[in-house]
């Protein structure tokens, strides 16, 4: 038996060495993504297993919903649909006009975007990181860095993509930052996560910048990751401290980061051609 003695210590030393090498490679280079994809696919059954009670619960909920309830929901959805359709007509016309004006100005037209609905798996990864798992992967055309949105705004971006599942980092994770601009006047800034699900910090705006409480922050499209013009957060408080170089601004994300079950995966720019047909 090799459970005792120097042999075991040697094995431990070897494993620790492999760990350190793996961690370094994983941190600095991207060679290990396939390995991670394989491992994350292997644990996918576990994730589905953990998600099962929730899936069964929501299935039962829809199966046993009463007729009146469904009718009411249906009417409400119709009404919403009508409202949105009316808005969309306007938007379509505005989009055409925008394109026309852009051609007049000889500037490049806006690129199209394409989206696919994905579902979050009900699993908890790490209480200190804001990460979620979705049920779409590279077979659906997902890629690392792809933005995910919900009905109200930007949620985050994919960081690891497996064949049939991916994990995404939310915009409120402390290690996440995204380029935004104020919708009212186009002022650019960076919104960083704080580790709290209902707060973003807006950094690097000088003390005399024109920011008001209630301003909508939208993605600026700089950095090339997020398509421009999607709502991110609403400014909640602006604190001017003459001793500091920058304003202390906190904002509330518009997306339902802790409630959404369905999210949109968005392909934008040159990636549109790689997206699956809608």
């Amino acid at each position: 038996m090799f459970t005792q003695g120097p042999f075991l210590a040697l094995r431990l030393a070897g494993l620790v060495l492999i760990s350190v090498i793996l961690m370094t490679v994983d941190h600095r280079l991207r060679y290990l993504e396939p390995v991670r994809a394989v491992v994350s696919t292997a644990v996918l059954p576990l994730q589905y297993l953990v998600n099962l009670p929730h899936a069964v619960g929501s299935w039962l909920g829809t199966s046993f919903a009463s007729r009146e309830e469904l009718l009411r929901e249906n009417t409400e959805l119709r009404r919403n649909q009508l409202k949105i359709a009316v808005k969309l007509q306007q938007l379509d016309a505005l989009d055409r006009e925008n394109q026309r004006l852009r051609t007049l100005l000889k500037s490049s037209g806006k690129v199209g975007e394409r989206a696919v609905v994905a579902e979050l798996l009900g699993v908890d990864l790490d209480p200190y990181k804001h990460q979620v798992v979705i049920n779409k992967g590279s077979v659906n055309g997902a890629y690392v860095g792809q933005p995910i949105l919900d009905a109200h705004g930007v949620m985050g971006q994919l960081i690891h993509v497996g064949p049939v599942s991916s994990s995404a980092i939310l915009i409120t994770d402390p290690s996440h930052a995204l380029p935004v601009q104020i919708n009212r006047n186009g002022l650019r800034a960076i919104a960083t996560g704080t580790g709290s699900l209902n707060r973003l910090d807006v950094q690097y705006l000088p003390n005399n910048a024109d920011v008001q409480v209630g301003d909508l922050l939208v993605t600026s499209g700089l950095g090339g990751r997020f398509p421009p013009g999607y709502p991110v957060a609403v400014v909640k408080s602006v604190r001017r401290n003459p001793g500091q170089g920058f304003l202390a601004i906190s904002a509330t994300p518009t997306a339902d980061l802790d409630r959404s079950r369905e999210v949109l995966l968005v392909w934008s720019g040159r990636r549109v051609t790689e997206a699956p047909p809608p």
């Binding site: 038996m1 459970t3 005792q4 075991l8 210590a9 094995r11 431990l12 494993l15 620790v16 492999i18 760990s19 350190v20 090498i21 793996l22 961690m23 994983d26 941190h27 290990l32 390995v35 991670r36 491992v39 994350s40 292997a42 644990v43 576990l46 994730q47 297993l49 953990v50 929730h54 009900g122 699993v123 908890d124 990864l125 790490d126 209480p127 200190y128 990181k129 990460q131 960081i159 690891h160 994990s167 980092i169 402390p174 290690s175 580790g195």
Partner: protein, 162 residues
């Protein structure tokens, strides 16, 4: 005449899979912060009970799915698990004869060591999370040790895993 012990690898595999599932259970935030490291606990049990079967190799291997699940660097959890499993294997003769509360105390120290190793790696990456409650899982892990030990021992005896 006693029947010879069966190998029953699947019991060990199943218990480890159950521990992994427990560790990704969606929980309210307050509970999630105090949720014990089930994978480490189950590994420590098997390495104490059957050190010739479950040792540093399996412990390191269990780190990979944990890394994939939590989005940490590959090898991060494996390193911590291998080190605490090594200590348990070295001490297994002594640990076995300890009363349960004393075992739990040693387990708490081992879990804290595991968390400290993780904290080091996260700290090097610049994303360490502060606060005393980071260490809560070690404490709750020690509390969870006694029931877990009794349950796993019953399972081990029932299926004669040896």
């Amino acid at each position: 005449m006693t029947t010879p012990p069966r190998r029953n690898n699947w019991i060990i595999a199943l218990s480890l899979a159950a521990a992994l599932s427990l560790s990704i259970l969606p929980l309210p935030e307050a509970v999630a912060r105090a949720w014990p490291e089930w994978t480490a606990l189950v590994l420590l049990y098997w390495s104490m009970a059957l050190p010739h079967r479950v040792s540093v190799g399996i412990a390191w291997g269990m780190g990979l799915p944990l890394d994939a699940l939590r989005g940490s660097l590959l090898g991060e959890h494996g390193m911590g698990l291998a080190i605490i499993t090594f200590i348990t294997v070295k001490l297994h003769r002594r640990l076995r004869v300890y009363p349960l509360w004393q075992q739990a105390a040693v387990i708490m120290v081992l879990l804290a060591l595991y968390q400290m190793l993780l904290l080091w790696v996260e700290g090097i990456l610049g994303r360490a999370s502060g606060g005393w409650y980071y260490w809560l899982p070690s404490l709750t892990g020690a509390v969870a040790w006694a029931p877990l030990f009794l349950v796993l021992r019953e399972i081990r005896r029932y299926f004669r895993v040896a």
